[in-house]
């Protein structure tokens, strides 16, 4: 069923009785050509592009719980392509281009909103780094604008540029960046994949791999064995655990990241702001809640909740830049599990086991990557060659000395 204005009008007049489920609840078959493990944004996008762009069929997507219940439904929804390193920027720019056309492509309202992101800077060194990053973004064919103090004031008159502990000197603005509705991204890709024949199988946990002579043959699941010669794993925070079942040890640690949302307020924040003196990012959802977050909790965690010291730190940072939100009530806070890689950049690669592909290490930046990640992973699984914007996202890059250390923090996953 295609969604359009006429349809909504018709349904409104007939008591909304004509809507059908957005995707089938498929039963697992014994054999497929492709299996994608993990029903988050990345897995669903992979299945969608495999079917739609690479014209593959007999595809199953296996999700341990329900699709969209993982990080894709827990993040702060910031979408941007203001990276600097050569291995990263073309990839994230492809992603932003796909975001810009996502709703038309999926016939699904993902509430993609290019409201702009501004990264504030507070001293000369930060300004120089922002200019350098801005130039690098422009050289990669994307958009970036350096704003001075007056420019920031014009956009956000309430920001304190004078008497604060860290007065604001200016900011790096990416006007095409913004936010999207997280759940809708998962649902839209699921619906699109289903329409192209993908079996979406929920409550189906992968518990092991069938491997013979270094080749993958299938997976063991809580709903029986399912066979396929090509299997792609995109399980976000549980990468180490799942890939260990295939005997692989990864350059990844799992850490918890928290996020927060306040009660609904009148519109006060048109775009996304990140605070350069600390680590704090904030935007306002279309319902009016302020959505914000900060750093990881810093230590390994598979618990979907964080600890109080980080809550305090994030809130302190928030109030130091926006004293006016001090009286807004925080309605909810939650955590998600990030697979933090050693240089803060992701992996889309083949593994040493033939037919087994890995997509992970997205740290806390994987939501914006969803479309390109799915596209490039589908390309890799379909053609056995990396997509041209993902050639640097290799699993062995630390061994060969080709890290993509965007932050320059070295092999310290919790610092990225």
């Amino acid at each position: 069923m295609r969604y359009n204005a006429l349809r909504i009008f018709k349904e409104a007049l007939t008591g909304h009785k004509g809507w059908t489920p957005a995707w089938r609840d498929a039963e697992p078959q014994k054999n497929y050509d492709f299996i994608v493990v993990g029903g988050g944004g990345h897995g669903l996008a992979t299945a969608y592009y495999l079917a739609k762009v690479y014209k593959k069929s007999r595809i199953a997507l296996l999700e341990r719980r329900w699709i969209g219940g993982g990080n894709v439904g827990r993040n702060t929804t910031i979408v941007r392509s203001n990276y600097m390193m050569h291995g990263n920027q073309p990839f994230y720019e492809l992603s932003l281009k796909l975001w810009e056309n996502l709703e038309q492509d999926l016939n699904f309202n993902a509430m993609m909103s290019q409201r702009g992101i501004i990264n504030l800077f507070h001293n000369d060194a930060q300004r120089d780094a922002a200019i350098r990053r801005g130039n690098s973004i422009l050289l990669h064919g994307s958009d970036a604008v350096i704003l001075d103090k007056a420019g920031v004031k014009e956009l956000y008159p309430f920001l304190n540029t004078e008497s604060a502990r860290f007065p604001i000197m200016g900011g790096l603005l990416q006007p095409r960046a913004g936010t999207a509705r997280h759940d809708a991204v998962a649902w839209g890709y699921a619906r699109g994949a289903d329409q192209h024949g993908v079996d979406i199988i929920q409550n189906c946990e992968v518990t092991g791999f069938k491997i013979e002579n270094g080749e993958v043959k299938g997976v063991e699941t809580t709903r029986g064995d399912i066979m396929a010669p090509k299997i792609g794993v995109a399980v976000a925070g549980r990468s180490s655990e799942v890939m260990a079942k295939a005997g692989l040890r990864l350059p990844i640690e799992s850490h918890v990241l928290q996020a927060f949302v306040t009660e609904g307020l009148k519109p006060i924040l048109p775009g996304v702001i990140t605070y350069g003196a600390g680590h704090f990012y904030i935007s306002q959802s279309d319902k009016g809640g302020l959505v914000f977050g900060g750093n990881l909790d810093y230590y390994n965690s598979y618990a979907w909740r964080g600890n109080l010291p980080t809550v305090e730190e994030v809130v302190e940072e928030g109030i130091s830049i926006f004293p006016n939100i001090a009286r807004a009530r925080v309605l909810r806070s939650w955590g998600g599990i990030m697979d933090m890689s050693m240089d803060g950049s992701p992996f889309i690669d083949q593994t040493p086991i033939k037919g087994l592909y890995f997509n992970g290490g997205w740290c806390y930046g994987g939501f914006k990557a969803t479309p390109a990640s799915g596209y490039c992973f589908a390309h890799l699984m379909a053609t056995d060659t990396p997509h041209k914007v993902a050639t640097a996202l290799r699993l062995d890059r630390y061994k060969t000395g080709h890290m993509i250390d965007e932050l320059g923090a070295g092999a310290q996953p919790n610092l990225h």
Partner: protein
């Protein structure tokens, strides 16, 4: 989280900074034949289990000891804490 410091008793986790997997105490032998692979694993790859994990915490805002904490990373329950120097001594690596 409260970390049961072996000398000082329960201390707030906020007094500590975190380094990661306690296997970092087992530095490979640089003269071994397989040193490149061993150092690659030592620096970059991790077991990263979802259950019980032994890890290094530094009591930076306290007595500045390194502590090996045994913790269930799925529940945040702490099962024990030892001075890292004792752990290293028992292994004969101190």
């Amino acid at each position: 989280m409260l970390i049961p410091h072996p000398l000082l008793g329960p201390r707030d986790a906020g007094e500590f900074t975190y380094l990661g997997d306690a296997t970092l105490l087992d530095r490979p032998d640089w003269q071994s034949e397989t040193a490149p692979q061993e150092f690659y694993d030592y620096v970059y790859t991790r077991e990263n289990p979802p259950g019980v994990h032994r890890e290094l915490w530094y009591h930076e805002y306290g007595d500045r000891n390194w502590i090996v904490v045994t913790r269930n990373v799925s529940t945040h329950e702490i099962l024990g804490a030892e001075l890292a120097q004792d752990v290293a001594k028992n292994k004969g690596t101190a």
